[in-house]
């Protein structure tokens, strides 16, 4: 075996599940505490917040204004059909809204949590029937499609509901990430622990925020996700989002494509581990696959301090999207860290043995899942 120069490769340390569990139960952060990590996480979350703002506005626009439109050609233009904007869109001088759609479809497909349960309920089916009835009177094409394909329009409505819910979720997260950057500039946040606490507080504060959605057909308003459904931000949208996008993902989320016919993909969606925390930051052959799209978008809004820092390491501008992706994964581990801390069954310092056992079981379940993710980015040396 030839000797490879040590400065050419760096084997990332992979903490075992027990170490992750220990950190979670000790209230420590998963990501190592370094000034570089603070710069990376806060900076990349600020750019992510800017991107999520655009994603959120577009998803909500699509759900409200492109509802049951079978040919949503201009869905990414937010209703602005200015020729200059259309040209920029065609010339790809724009945000990659495709990534937002991709995340929405991951949520829809994996279907976990309260939102998915509601979308499969009879109450939702009844609402769909009313909406379709009203829509068929206005739209001849839908009037033809619905009797031919009975599940087609309900599925489009489920898609629209998920789209709107994700838009609402990202609205909150966008503001939270931009507030985090402001807090860091004000000196209120200066460490990874404070970053995680800030995110946890933000998630907890928004936890009970109701998730609702209604559409207007003609002059009449029809609820799709009514207040009576009792859907809330944290349990019904945020947790399914983490499950679908951070953990499971889809086989093409990473940079390695898989051959389903060769049984390289488990038919059990619960066995999927292709999410953002598992994705390879290094694109293979540079195809325009979703993570690359998100990195392109974040690159447009990168804070100068972080951009300057990137220019000092590795290939500088040449591999900046890879570095953004690596920083993004660190940031997502912080968000996951905050979500786990915010949803622990009992306070960490509880002296009750039963509470401790419950916390331990909860932390172990998470640590086991995260152990096979790209935790090599968590070390101080990464």
């Amino acid at each position: 075996m030839p000797v490879i120069s040590a400065d050419l490769t760096r084997q990332g340390g992979m903490p075992p599940a027990a170490e992750l569990e220990r950190r979670l139960l000790a209230g420590q952060t998963l990501l190592a505490e370094t000034p570089g990590h603070v710069l990376e996480v806060v900076g990349v979350l600020e750019s992510y917040g800017e991107v999520l703002d655009a994603y959120s506005r577009n998803l909500i626009y699509q759900a409200e204004h492109q509802f049951l439109n079978p040919f949503p050609i201009f869905k990414f233009l937010d209703g602005d059909l200015n020729p200059a904007k259309i040209w920029r869109h065609l010339n790809h001088d724009r945000i990659n809204f495709e990534y937002a759609e991709y995340c929405m479809k991951a949520m829809l497909w994996h279907g976990t949590g309260g939102l998915d349960a509601y979308l499969d309920s009879q109450a939702f089916a009844d609402l769909c029937a009313k909406i379709i009835e009203a829509k068929r009177r206005k739209d001849l094409l839908l009037g033809l499609l619905d009797p031919l394909f009975r599940q087609f329009l309900p599925e489009l409505i489920r898609t629209a509901a998920t789209t709107h819910a994700l838009g609402q979720f990202w609205r909150v997260m966008s503001d939270l990430f931009i507030d985090l950057a402001a807090a860091e500039r004000d000196g209120r946040v200066a460490s990874i622990a404070q970053v995680v606490d800030f995110l946890k507080d933000g998630l907890v504060a928004a936890a009970a925020k109701p998730i609702t959605y209604a559409v207007t057909i003609g002059l009449e308003s029809f609820p799709v996700l009514p207040p009576e459904a009792g859907l809330t931000f944290l349990v019904d949208v945020a947790v399914p989002y983490v499950e679908a996008v951070f953990l499971r993902g889809m086989p093409f989320l990473g940079t390695v494509s898989f051959n389903a016919q060769a049984q390289q993909i488990s038919p059990d969606q619960a066995q999927f581990a292709y999410g953002a925390l598992f994705a390879d930051p290094l694109p293979t052959m540079g195809a325009g696959i979703p993570p690359s799209l998100l990195m392109q978008d974040m690159y447009r809004h990168l804070p100068k301090s972080l951009h300057d820092w990137y220019l000092q390491c590795s290939r500088g501008e040449g591999d900046v999207r890879v570095k953004i992706c690596a920083s993004f994964q660190k940031a997502m581990f912080c968000v996951t860290n905050a979500a786990i801390a915010g949803t622990l069954p009992h306070p960490i310092g509880s002296g009750d043995p039963q509470a401790q056992a419950a916390n331990q079981a909860y932390a172990r379940a998470w640590a086991t899942r995260l152990a096979s993710a790209r935790t090599d980015c968590l070390s101080a040396a990464s």
């Binding site: 075996m1 030839p2 000797v3 490879i4 120069s5 400065d7 050419l8 490769t9 760096r10 084997q11 990332g12 992979m14 940079t255 390695v256 390879d280 290094l282 694109p283 293979t284 052959m285 540079g286 590795s314 290939r315 040449g318 591999d319 999207r321 890879v322 096979s372 790209r374 090599d376 990464s382």
Partner: protein, 519 residues
Amino acid sequence: MMSSVLMAFPWLSLLLAIPFLGTFALLLWPGEPSPGRLRGITIGLLAAQLVASLALLLVFDPALGGMQLEELHSWVPSIGLNYQLGVDGLSLPLVLINAALTLVAAVCTRDFSKRPRIYFSMLLLISGAVNGAFLAENLLLFFLFYELELIPLWLLISIWGGNQRAYAATKFLIFTAVSGMLILGAFLGLALFTGTVDFSLTAITSERLAMGSQIVLLSALLVGFGIKLPLVPFHTWLPDAHTQASTPVSVLLAGVLLKLGTYGILRFGMGLFPEAWAQLAPGLAIWAAITVVYGSLAAIAQRDMKRMVAYSSVGHMGYVLLAGAAATPVALLGAEFQMVSHGLISALLFLLVGTVYRKTGTRDLDVLRGLLNPERGLPFTGTLMILGVMASAGMPGMVGFIAEFLVFRGSLLAYPIATLVCMVGSGLTAVYFLLLVNRAFFGRLAITPASDNPVDDARLDIQLAPVAPRETLPALALALGVLALGLFPALLGHWSEATTTAMAQFPALLAPITDGGLG
């Protein structure tokens, strides 16, 4: 008036004077000039040599098949050694390739901190010696130049080579010394049997010997030049020499020095012994086919990128022997194209392999993965590598296709079986170079052996230094040459066709099958 002045100018001597005087100048340069300055002077001299070589095109008449711009000065007439130079359509492209590739070798020299004065003077000395060998019209003068390039190349391998450089350099020295002895023996034997002391190429070619003597002398030449070419089974020095040589030396070795073997076989083997050549030609065609297939199969078995390219040279040089055996005008033109094509393509491939080695520290195909990665790999190097292997495999649009097509077209009717076997060898080129590209350049970027757990592989953070644009300029220039001659083959055929056609007109070489030229 201007034309006569140009014609009277000793252009060929100038092509020898620039590198030889440059060698002395570097060796005697006062003080301790910096390596950068020595490199700059060398590049300047080699650029001047390239310009002078290109100037030959102004005075060379492509319509003539014989020697031109001849120069004759008596040197040691008592032993038949005279300073007699000339150039024709066979040697002109090789002189140009020599000038271009020596310049490329000097430009792509990155690490010249170790004994730079000797290194650059040896580069110049090799270039001058090779020019002399290609231009010599006197057998002894050719031999002197042929031997003269041996020592500098031995030094270049043994001083600036890899860990096993002493072994490789000694092996190269022994093989090439035997090659020189056989060639000298054949030349002296020719004089002995014909009773002449005039080693002038034009004077001695008309001599007629008994067939048995011709075959003995030709066999000595074939083995002598076959070692240099190299032909199987005399090839074993080449992969070792390439593996241990630095990148610039590999460029010279593959691009220029192997051509001394093919040139010698065509110029002296076929030219001096046309009747014996015609007798041995069927055997030579079989030898060529064996060399092509063996070289290709050996290349497939390699795991070291450089050894793979080296074995591909063995295979591709076999095409020249096949074309020489057929000796039709088209085949000989194909041989000329193949020499130029192989010079450009193999130099390109060695440059790129050198870049990979410099950036990754390895050439092991079991280790390298995904180097085409646009973010952290060597994407432009990979792109040129794909172009290079396509050219080597004979893809249309590149010079490799023109060369192989002409060789096969010119040889098929004369030796159909051998030609078909060589065509299979051409297909095998695609096999081993696709293996190379697929293993080293496609997939997920990694430079460690694939472990049982592929997840571990994927976690390596590859930190390859990027390739600066100036580092790729020599390879880019060669790639453009490969494309230019592939798209416009007349750029080369125009200068060589008359000579290669004339070479095929020896009565003994006139095969029952006749075919036309390019046009």
